[in-house]
């Protein structure tokens, strides 16, 4: 295998057009945020029963995907798989960018984003939230150092050890994100030991799907060769991860069905939950898992980049559906404050809570993706992060 040559992307019209496009989305997100903060959250779909709404779905998705996006680099440096090495810088950049996008959404949806400084100066070390802030900033710093080691020739020799550290840190980070739910003792939908490992596998799948789309798009737009070897390896990996998530989802629901006390919330999600049931079966299972698996493993579609891209988009859609069902469905289902009793009150006790997303919430969520993509675009313009060629001859150890 030849030595990889990394180059910056050109700063021409296409570059600026791309930035402008994402910029518009970000502006829409900021305008939404201003609208929600200025009026107060009564203009959103949230209420005192469903307190984390659509922005949280996007934010958690992006944060989970961020740690997964680093996976490609980890496979290269930690597990020594040569083919993945040239992809490592992009993988690191994307990881940091997605994290920034997700955190931005999270912060902009706070009741008092202006008090961020309070959050940064008053730590409650018992709170997993505070721990997560440390995990997130640490992640950014470590990946930044990792990128530096990779991109600066004289430091290359350290990149494996820093990469290993980054890998361990990313596992902690996803576990930390998953544990946000683990602390909610009274919410049945989140009461599962499986939550943390399930989040790790979800991160692999969502992160890789985004990585592949970014890789395809950037090589297409810059006219760089991208060989079938890389594409095939990545799509096979995506297939494995999607199947992995599906497996965890299956075990999670079987375990809940087995535990009598969780039958209520299970039948809510699986059969009677209206929009949540629909999103579960159609969004998460069918479109987000089974269809992508069929596309990826069917030889007729699995070799086409167009189809692989569609599969990746579906995986992202499925992931968002999954988090919507888990997060919002889990809140909509009433807490069992008085087991054995039928409960009614003026505050929604014993009732399925209503929540419908509003446009500003969705725009704010989507702008998280735009923030991440702008960051990636600017980074690959200014850093030599993309290999000039990923043609088969460059990457496939068996190619002549």
């Amino acid at each position: 295998m030849k030595k990889t040559l990394y180059t910056q992307i050109e700063g021409g019209k296409g570059f600026w057009a791309l930035l402008a496009g994402f910029g518009v989305v970000i502006l829409a997100g900021l305008a939404s945020m201003y609208y929600m903060e200025h009026n107060g959250h009564w203009v959103t779909g949230m209420n005192n029963s469903v307190v984390w709404g659509t922005p949280h779905v996007f934010a958690i998705f992006l944060i989970v995907a961020a740690s997964g996006a680093l996976n490609v680099a980890s496979i290269g440096s930690v597990f020594g798989k040569k083919m993945y090495k040239p992809l490592a810088p992009l993988s690191g950049i994307l990881a940091v960018a997605l994290l920034v996008g997700g955190l931005a959404v999270l912060v902009l949806d706070l009741g008092r984003p202006d008090r961020l400084i309070v959050a940064m100066t008053n730590y409650n070390f018992k709170s997993i939230f505070a721990w997560n802030i440390i995990l997130y900033t640490g992640f950014m710093a470590i990946v930044a150092i990792y990128l530096w080691m990779m991109l600066e020739k004289r430091f290359n020799k350290y990149s494996t050890s820093v990469g290993t550290f980054a890998f361990v840190w990313r596992l902690l980070l996803t576990t930390g994100t998953g544990s946000i739910f683990g602390f909610l003792v009274a919410r049945e939908a989140y009461d599962a030991a499986l939550m943390a490992p399930m989040f790790v596998v979800m991160s692999f799948s969502f992160g890789l799907a985004i990585f592949m789309l970014v890789l395809f798009a950037s090589y297409r737009m810059t006219g760089r060769p991208l060989g079938d070897y890389v594409v095939r390896r990545l799509k096979n990996l995506l297939g494995v991860f999607v199947a992995g998530v599906l497996y965890f989802v299956l075990v999670y629901h079987l375990a809940n069905l087995y535990a009598t006390e969780h039958h209520g919330v299970e039948s809510f999600i699986l059969t009677s939950g209206g929009i949540y049931t629909m999103l579960f079966w159609v969004g998460q299972i069918l479109l987000g898992s089974l269809v992508p698996l069929a596309i990826l493993y069917n030889p007729a579609t699995g070799n086409s980049r167009g189809w692989i891209s569609i599969a990746s988009v579906l995986v992202i859609f499925g992931g968002l559906s999954q988090l919507y069902v888990l997060l919002i469905g889990g809140q909509a289902y009433p807490m069992k404050t008085f087991p054995g009793y039928e409960v009614t009150s003026s505050f929604g006790d014993g009732m399925i809570a209503s929540y419908s997303p509003t446009l500003p919430e969705v725009l704010l969520g989507i702008s998280g993706f735009a923030i991440a993509l702008v960051a990636v675009t600017i980074a690959v313009r200014h850093l030599r992060a993309l290999p000039a060629s990923l043609a088969d001859g460059e990457t496939d150890p068996h190619a002549a």
């Binding site: 107060g40 009564w42 949230m46 009741g111 008085f338 929604g348």
Partner: protein, 250 residues
């Protein structure tokens, strides 16, 4: 955290009015009507004492279905009764609510008020990233509204759905109870009254005397005596949070 802020925080509710007088809580958002504060009895230098643990015992046998005098009293006392004209019913704050129960097996029904249960091990305090959720030494759980960033994690964590998020700008607040858009609030056990040696508003207004308030740590108090004499239970006792509010008759 410095000793100085610690003290400030202990004083916060007791002396909240003085602290918050004319305070601008965000550009353009001013807490109105806070200047003529009354000074509480518990001297500001004197922190809430851990020798006490304030608690309540609610007798659901006495509590009448359909009566919501405690709810009205709390709303008026603390100013949340009619403060959010834009918010939907699901978005409006409710520090205390009446809950109607019907046993699925026997059909026996109960009526009782639900509010912050002032847990000894409060999940809301554990999860709060900024220490805005806090437990005073005397067991009262409060939100420091000057420190709350509105992340709503405490609302996710509370097993009793005791907390409300403020969805809009508030005007016309009660002098002793600073509140604000974008922050979370819940029953304060009428801390401003308790610090003056008075009972919480709901306790005072209940026509059936269904709520008993007092110091759980004082063996001679009426509440401590009642707790030794009668069976009582904590809601979701299984969670081990040891709430300061207990119930009889369920």
């Amino acid at each position: 955290m410095s000793e100085d802020t610690n003290l400030k925080r202990r004083e916060f509710i007791g002396n909240g009015a003085k602290l918050a007088a004319g305070l601008t809580i965000a550009p353009g958002v001013v807490v109105y009507g806070l200047s003529e504060a009354s000074v509480p009895d518990r001297p500001a230098e004197e922190p809430a004492s851990s020798e006490r643990r304030w608690g309540m015992l609610v007798d659901s046998n006495k509590c009448a279905t359909g009566c919501d005098k405690c709810v009205t009293a709390c709303g008026e006392e603390n100013g949340w009764d009619d403060s959010e004209p834009n918010s939907s019913p699901e978005q409006k704050a409710q520090w205390i609510r009446k809950v109607e129960l019907r046993h699925k097996g026997t059909g026996k029904s109960h009526s009782l008020p639900m509010m912050c249960q002032h847990c000894e091990n409060p999940p809301c305090v554990d999860v709060c990233p900024t220490n805005a959720s806090m437990k005073r030494a005397d067991g009262i759980v409060l939100v420091d509204r000057h420190r709350c960033i509105g992340c709503r994690y405490c609302m996710m964590a509370c097993p009793y759905k005791a907390r409300s998020f403020i969805h809009e700008t508030l005007t016309d607040q009660e002098p002793h109870m600073p509140r604000g858009k974008g922050t979370v609030e819940s029953c304060t056990m009428c801390v401003h009254r308790v610090d003056e040696g008075r009972e919480p508003a709901c306790v005072e207004e209940c026509p059936e005397q269904a709520i008993l308030f007092g110091d759980l740590n004082d063996p001679d108090s009426a509440i401590a005596q009642a707790l030794t004499r009668y069976d009582s239970t904590a809601v979701r006792e299984d969670l081990g949070l040891n709430p300061g509010v207990r119930y009889r008759g369920i």
